[in-house]
Symmetry: C2
């Protein structure tokens, strides 16, 4: 990690920049995959599965017997853990669905807003080095609370044409029936356009590599909604001299092990604390299986010491981290001052990994400073909020002059007329 | 309007298609405007104002004295109408801001979610044929309820370098201080990248022509959030034999007068009703100043008769209209069955124009069937919802095994370690 001591404010912007990743080439190659799937449907998916996953697939959809098998292949401990995580995530998200509340804005004018689950949604779950079954909980549970009627899941299979049992078990646990062995950009294309086997959906969720990300960007332009723009995962730790260096080192490393492009930032008011953390990082790094990966991520990472806690708070708000861990005296008071972050972890006993798996909050969060304008996934992400209004004849009379004045001032005579024709009725 | 009598279900999809508009050429010309503004800032904006608006501008920002003058130029009646609309919109939107609610998902694990206003937002208000001051209410009021700190407004000026007084009066009424005389794609570029005069913002809202829409599409790919994808405005009326043909005709016309690309759809279970509506449309059309425009929009519009109310409901849900007017027996019961729409107008005395201006609901709504996945603008659109979690040491112990099991099954050892290092502390 590189250490910066009291950088001047004009240097903050440069220091806090994420590395720019030009994906023009990726977008082009992904565009041709999208076209291929749009044109050839299932046949394209089969040939791409052979090309990219090395799998010869007869059926794209996971069968009921494959799902049954999966349950047997997992340990009881893991199944219990997934069950417990499910319960906590359900508990937290169940408070995010709001009942309609009618408001009478004027006498005779009733307005309300109703959340309705998006009918068809698609979830993408990456395969590759690790089976990210936790993401199925994070997407499948709010989809189910929202009342989405059709939930489609795509994930790349291995050479034998199988999905990891933890993925199948978790999908089944949250009630997802339509699971397909399709990965990469071709999975996004399949869910956007539909194929013979895979239904087209209205919104696509989930993380993925640069091809998946590019595919989501492209289908969004064509009108299919996506959860949020994506970038490499990141953590920012805000620590004063009261923090525990070993705890902080473990948090920085748990982000760094995600991949070489992971972003890790430590902001502190105490240089001695930062020095202790750096030593701890070295020590703990030695014991990690993904040590080389983590080391590379750390080489690009920064520790910044600032003079005051106010400066530190300003800096982390400017950075707008996906995950922000606050290990400071009065951590909860400081957390109140956070205006830009995906999810905030307060105090010494709230490591990021609890939110990644099981505290109950969602782990699909805005990276790359998108937290300045975007929220993490929640039940909101799976519903549309439709507004309704019902006016009585008197209600319309109460508002008529207002509407007529405004419509005519905007030069929209027929808008005014729609009111006039009603109130002039005998 | 073209009349379709009981089309078979397999033809619905074709019938309900919006016209496809290839905007590749527009995207290219807009890209060069974006680059010009990014590179040359205010100088580019001045030269584009001269080119497109015919105005030679010294100052891009509207001055305090221009705002003062505006108030004098409006009639008392219009000012009262705007004030009344403001009150209703405020009343309805004020219930959309939720206080954080803490949930204890397990003993010692507290999670909550807090809405925080997006710090910097930009509003685009079209000029051109009509001054759309009503849109300032629809965007400025929720921005103010959300607590957005910096609200920037851009709108094109006339040849004399002036904005319409109703725009200035309304902006001032909702507390917007930074108003700029910049229109078109260049306004979107200015708010996305920032210039010497105009601050860069994190999210951009508002309607516009195809250049503005293309600019919003392009800056969204580069990471600036936008309100929603855009298309031509549209209304769908669902009517049975109890409806009032004159009322319905007035609603169809108030949509048609928006422009030649406006979409108007009438779905009914009663052919005699449809025939009466068509006659009324002809009659009312004659009296409209924007008659030619409306006539062109109507030429592309459809009236569809179906056999049953269930079919009618299925059809309007498939169409997913921006505005849906329900004029039927038991209109409220039918409205309950609507799953795809931007805003719903219930009964004979709820014309679309009340929602366009003053009932209290928002008029910035998803067009082009985007209502299947998108909501209209609300206070939600101006906030990020940040999640928080705070675990006690016992809380962490309660969840430790769950997190460790799941992290290790995903191959993320350092994630497990961040928990282990904390619970193994003496």
């Amino acid at each position: 990690m590189q250490l910066f001591n009291n950088p001047s404010k004009q240097d903050w912007n440069g220091l806090l920049q994420r590395p720019y990743n030009d994906n023009t080439a990726v977008l082009q190659s992904v565009q041709s995959i999208l076209s291929e799937v749009k044109q050839n449907g299932d046949a394209a998916l089969r040939s791409l599965a052979l090309k990219f996953d090395g799998a010869e697939l007869k059926e794209l959809q996971v069968s009921a017997s494959e799902i049954e098998e999966a349950e047997v292949l997992l340990t009881t401990e893991l199944k219990q853990a997934i069950q417990q995580a499910k319960e906590n995530i359900f508990t937290f998200h169940s408070f995010q669905m709001h009942k309609p509340r009618s408001v009478e804005t004027m006498q005779g004018i009733e307005c309300w807003r109703k959340s309705v689950g998006i009918e068809k949604v698609g979830l993408y779950i990456p395969g590759g080095t690790a089976p990210l079954f936790s993401t199925i909980l994070m997407l499948g549970i709010p989809a189910s609370i929202a009342g989405c009627k059709e939930v489609v899941l795509c994930s790349p299979c291995n050479k034998e044409g199988k999905l990891h049992p933890a993925i199948l078990f978790t999908a089944n646990l949250v009630g997802i029936k339509k699971i397909f062995k399709v990965g990469g950009a071709q999975a996004i294309a399949a869910m956007a356009y539909g194929t013979e086997s895979i239904p087209a959906v209205y919104k696509i969720f989930g993380p993925g590599n640069q091809y998946v990300t590019a595919a989501k960007q492209l289908i969004q332009v064509s009108g299919v909604a996506i959860d949020m723009p994506a970038g490499p995962s990141e953590v920012c730790v805000l620590a004063d001299e009261t923090a525990n260096p070993a705890f902080i080192a473990s948090d920085l490393l748990s982000q760094a092990e995600h991949g070489v492009d992971s972003q890790v930032l430590l902001v502190s008011t105490s240089e001695p604390m930062v020095q202790k953390v750096l030593q701890e990082v070295k020590k703990q790094l030695e014991q990690l299986p993904r040590k080389d990966l983590a080391q590379k991520a750390l080489n690009n990472s920064k520790a910044i010491v600032v003079n005051t806690m106010d400066d530190a708070i300003e800096m982390v708000n400017e950075y707008a981290a996906e995950h922000l861990i606050v290990c400071c005296r009065d951590a909860e008071v400081i957390a109140e001052k956070i205006s830009n972050a995906g999810s905030v972890f307060i105090g010494n006993y709230s490591p990021e990994s609890v939110g990644d798996y099981a505290s109950g909050t969602n782990h699909t969060l805005p990276t790359n400073a998108f937290a300045r304008a975007y929220s993490g996934v929640s039940v909101d992400s799976f519903v549309k909020k439709i507004t309704f209004q019902k006016l009585s004849k008197d209600g319309l009379k109460n508002i008529a002059q207002t509407v007529i004045e405004m419509a005519e001032a905007e030069g929209l005579k027929a808008h005014a007329n729609a009111v006039r024709v009603r109130i002039s009725e005998p």
